[in-house]
Symmetry: C2
Subunit: 215 residues, 2 copies
Amino acid sequence: MRIGELSRRSGVSVPTIKFYLREGLLPPGELTSPNQADYADGHLRRLRLVRALIDLAGLPVARVKEVLESLDAGDEALHHRIGAVHRALAPPRQPAESDDTRAEAQVRELIEKRGWAIEPDAPAIATLAETIAVLHTLGQGDLAADLDSYADAVERLAEREVAAVASRPDTDRIAESVVIGTILGERLITALRLLAQEHVSARLLGPASGDPRAE
Amino acid sequence: MRIGELSRRSGVSVPTIKFYLREGLLPPGELTSPNQADYADGHLRRLRLVRALIDLAGLPVARVKEVLESLDAGDEALHHRIGAVHRALAPPRQPAESDDTRAEAQVRELIEKRGWAIEPDAPAIATLAETIAVLHTLGQGDLAADLDSYADAVERLAEREVAAVASRPDTDRIAESVVIGTILGERLITALRLLAQEHVSARLLGPASGDPRAE
């Protein structure tokens, strides 16, 4: 398809598509004449992915580029590419304000106890340790006391998520699904969690007995 | 305590504390002389909360102010204050690019089926519907097919979270815990989910049989 059709089908303006091409977020089309290029369905898919990363995940263009580069490292073994994608998507760490050493030991103990195969330098370990340490600083350490319940929940969900993603027809689409599933799955969980909390709050803290909605 | 001690104990500089006071993020101290004020432990707690909202949740100052205002609406019933906090913390919606009507019906059906007591205009409903619609647009609708598993997981976690929060000594601290628990709990789940996915990916997609870490 020509760039005009790519724009219509994706809802992304031609100047924006040209910007993505210049920035390397979108691979060049196949030249059919000196100033005309042809784009395939893969371009449309990639364009939608770029928009999801920018609009929904709120990633800056530079980080989108990092994520796409790890996605495109086609010579790597699949689970290494997925690892690279996870690393690129990990929430950026804040400069540590509190002592995370104890919290980090707690996280490593959890990983060992559960028999999780995790690279020892996975950035999510530091993010998790820092989050636990901040909860303690804020006097809310009990909210992180039962890490095992959270780990149970996410492990069960990961089993389904990875199985769904593994059913994709080729490794490029698997890697793409990992990116989308990580980001949009997070958004899905966040929104559902707010709803569940609203419901449970109304039941436990609201005028429950008199409120017919509460049971 | 004087402003210098508040700064030392919180790790926030005096000029930043003065900025928060001017912006109304921190209530004024008690004047002990025309240009000297005394701050209490409540100020220290509030200051740590402000830092968590800015540094960890990445909220802009204007939204921090909204969250704090809903937190401080002391004349409201507790579960209404919590509702207001949830609304202020809901991820901002993107302008809809796709047709969310079907997805929204799916979300309302889920809520009804589970008997969740949710205000019909809760912003998380729209966020969730939009996320599902985008997953469909990106050809990854199957990742949202099993909403019930996600709902099971977050409902179980919400039971524990709300019970922990409800054990706080007064309503101000309950509301504060809701803010911190919502934001930091999300971060905790995100980080743990990345770890669980790394583990399950290595097992399902990696060179599993030869890798002793994989079981």
